[in-house]
């Protein structure tokens, strides 16, 4: 079992996203993270998802995705060198001596405090999924009020591009 990051260009059509998501639930594949946004080409959206499976399952997943008429192109980023980023926004209870402690940990992880309340901090952090996991774990002492993550977005390193 290996975690895979699949990046997909889909037609920017209503219903296209539900076809991709539906495929996963219909065939019993799991989606761990999912991220969708428009691209520079208004007719295309880029969807990045992470999933887990053995080689045979992964082969089926990519074949099944490619078979969808709305899927224009896809790449398994984990097959080559790539960059992956997840964005975390986390709101924690921060009062008294906690405030310094939290600030220090945030600095160590190169995060930013993006909102400050009398008793709360909201911290922003980007990085790999693992890095964000460690940060959330490091915040364990503090009182976590809310966590939101964008899901992983990724891109290949070097000359390789996912384009029409």
């Amino acid at each position: 079992m290996m975690r895979r990051i699949i990046s997909i260009l889909v037609e920017n059509e209503p219903g296209a996203l539900s076809r991709v998501i539906g495929l996963f639930s219909q065939r019993g594949y799991n989606i761990e993270t999912l991220n969708v946004a428009p691209t520079e080409d208004p007719s295309l959206s880029r969807l990045t998802l992470t999933t887990e499976g053995d080689d045979k399952t992964m082969e089926q997943i990519t074949k099944q995705l490619n078979k969808l008429v709305d899927v224009v192109k896809l790449v398994d980023l984990t097959e080559g060198a790539h960059i992956e980023r997840d964005l975390l926004l986390i709101k924690v209870r921060a009062s008294g001596s906690q405030r310094d402690e939290i600030k220090r940990t945030t600095d160590i992880f190169r995060g930013q405090i993006v909102d400050v309340g009398p008793n709360t901090y909201t911290i922003q952090l980007t990085g790999t999924g693992e890095k964000l996991d460690s940060f959330v774990a490091a915040m364990g002492e503090a009182d976590i009020l809310e966590v939101v993550r964008s899901g992983i977005a990724g891109i290949s390193r070097g000359e390789k591009v996912l384009k029409l």
Binding site: S18, Q26, K56, E59, K63, V69, V71, V72
Partner: protein, 581 residues
């Protein structure tokens, strides 16, 4: 350029697409379309009695002709009634275009009267679907739908059409595109030559080869090439339930159907083979039995147009993605070239021994060698199919429903041609047989069309007897009457100590003879073996009448062979109630 309303554009586009029949049922959301069809009066419309039947009729038409079936239904209940038929076509890769009405655009999402999210509901059972947003897009969407439905691995395509897009008072310039291009849809046109070359070598080097062919050979119109290849190499051929007719059943190289209810010799030959050439077949669980025990000594060459069919359940050694026709053409050519250089291949000694072994299996338990079913004072179901085969000279279109009768028809009617055997394999939809037969009979008015059914299945779409009256379809319904949901009963006999939970109907069956007579058809009851042939002939002599033969068979009969499951291999079979491999 002509100015047409959305409804008129639909009527015209179907005409321009060469559609011969629309199978459908009207309702509020499609009334503009119906009015346009009525006024142009170009494409004949067949009014069914239930939308499920419209999809099965279109499906039967498609299976028999190779052309896409076309369905028109209204929104809400019309659309949901069509779902079973769409799923049936999807599972067997049948080309179909389903036009469903939708509530007007401004009402969508408001739980409007007869609103249902058709695109959503049908999503997992269509090849693709469209929702019309602007009336002027209709011609292009229809062209795309037919293109997608009929190319690559065929399948059903749904077009959902909001009522306002078909308004008669808004007109648009009509132009039907000659062709369409979809950047994200490009089914393979040719197989990879390197792979085909490897396959040719592996095939020629085989000592215990077998060709396992399926529905893809029929869908891809490649029966002639498959037959040519098999005869050239003198290799044995087995067909899936969906592939029956792709290779002539009466040819000595044909080993019969394989799989759960496949022939002993076919399953044994598969299990003991060293090279399997799988062509347009998808290693379904009804074929493989336990995947981990599937054909342990075999290398697998797999030709399929859909990459997802390859290595989905059973891994293949030489995958070839491409249309059967072109791949088989290339394969034949490469084999010719190789045989010129190495005329000693394939190894005739090994092949001779392999055939000897196969003949031994055939002699021992072959379904067509001697009589393999029991004696009884009742009519045996197998005898009915043999009688049907005789009466129709093996040349009928045979549709079926789902159950024991379906398996008996598959085992005992020897199909020599593709597209003659019309049944629901993947979904196994009871209620398919009669409406499918209507579609076939409309396509081929002068041919014998038989619907082999059971008293359970026929009641699932029996209302279509009325459609048959209206369109004068002289179908011969062969009801294998065992007064049980026989296939269910068989499983209960074998796995539930004979507890027949909900598999019989007590005394509540209709008098089928009277029932069909009330629709204006002919009904004949048959209870004695000595009258079976005469009644069968009598039925087929009534060329312009629908005849319902209600044939009382031995209700205790089981279908054999039957794979031993779970945990069995291809070679593990029950051969009768008390005999197993």
């Amino acid at each position: 350029m002509e100015l047409l309303s959305g409804g008129e554009m639909i009527a015209r586009a179907l005409e321009d697409e060469g559609v011969e029949f629309i199978f459908g049922y009207p309702g509020g959301a499609v009334l503009h379309i119906y009015d346009a069809l009525f006024k142009t009066n170009k494409v004949p419309h067949v009014l069914v009695r239930h939308e499920q039947a419209a999809t099965h009729a279109a499906d039967g038409y498609a299976r028999a002709t190779g052309k896409p079936g076309v369905v028109l239904v209204t929104s809400g209940p019309g659309a949901t009634n069509a779902i079973t038929g769409i799923a049936t076509a999807y599972m067997d890769s049948i080309p179909m275009v389903v036009l469903s009405g939708q509530v007007a655009t401004h009402l969508i999402g408001e739980d409007a009267f007869q609103e249902t999210d058709m695109v959503g509901i049908s999503r997992p059972i269509v090849k693709h679907s469209f929702m019309v947003r602007h009336a002027e897009d209709i011609p292009e969407i229809i062209k795309k739908a037919f293109h997608i439905a009929t190319t690559g691995r065929p399948g059903p395509v749904v077009i959902d059409i909001p009522k306002d897009c078909t308004r008669p008072d808004e007109k648009f310039e009509y132009h039907y595109p000659e062709s369409v291009k979809l950047r994200s849809y490009a089914p393979a046109q040719r197989g990879h030559t390197g792979q085909i070359r490897k396959a040719a070598k592996m095939l020629l080097g085989a000592k215990r080869p077998i060709i396992y062919s399926g529905g893809g050979v029929i869908l891809g119109e490649a029966s002639d090439l498959l037959t040519q290849l098999a005869r050239k190499l003198k290799y044995p051929v087995t067909n899936t339930l969906m592939g029956l007719g792709a290779y002539p059943a009466t040819d000595p190289q044909f080993l019969g159907m394989l799989g759960m209810h496949g022939f002993y010799e076919a399953n044994m030959a598969m299990h003991h083979s060293d090279v399997i050439l799988a062509v347009g077949a998808r290693f379904d669980d009804r074929v493989t039995n336990t995947v981990g025990k599937f054909c342990p000594g075999a290398k697998i060459i797999h030709i399929d147009i859909d990459p997802t069919s390859i290595s989905k359940t059973v891994s293949s050694d030489i995958p070839i993605v491409g249309p059967v026709r072109s791949v088989l053409e290339d394969l034949l050519e490469i084999i010719d070239g190789l045989q010129e250089k190495t005329p000693e291949l394939p190894d005739s000694g090994a092949l001779g021994r392999w055939w000897q072994q196969i003949e031994e299996w055939r002699g021992k338990h072959g379904l067509w060698t001697g009589r393999r079913y029991g004696e009884s004072d009742r009519i045996m179901p197998q005898q009915v199919i043999e009688s049907l085969y005789r009466a129709t000279n093996g040349d009928a279109y045979v549709t079926s429903d789902v159950g024991q009768h379906q398996m008996f028809a598959a085992q005992y009617y020897k199909f020599d041609q593709p597209r003659r055997w019309i049944n629901s394999g993947g979904l196994g939809t009871m209620g398919f047989g009669l409406p499918a037969a209507m579609g076939v009979q409309l396509a081929f008015p002068d041919m014998n069309v038989a619907c082999v059914t059971g008293e359970g299945s026929i009641q699932m779409n029996i209302q279509e007897l009325s459609t048959c009256t209206q369109y004068k379809t002289p179908i011969k319904i062969i009801n294998l009457r065992n007064n049980y949901l026989g296939m269910v009963k068989q499983w209960q006999d074998m796995h539930y100590e004979g507890r027949h939970a909900m598999s019989t109907y007590e005394d509540s069956l209709p008098d089928f003879v009277k029932l069909v007579e009330s629709y204006g058809h002919v009904g004949i009851q048959v209870t004695r073996l000595d009258e079976l042939d005469a009644r069968m002939d009598e039925a087929f002599a009534m060329k312009d009448k629908l005849v319902f033969l209600d044939i009382f068979i031995d209700p205790m009969e089981h279908v054999y062979p039957m794979h031993i499951a779970p945990n069995g291999a291809m070679k593990d079979m029950w051969l009768s109630k008390n005999e197993r491999t």
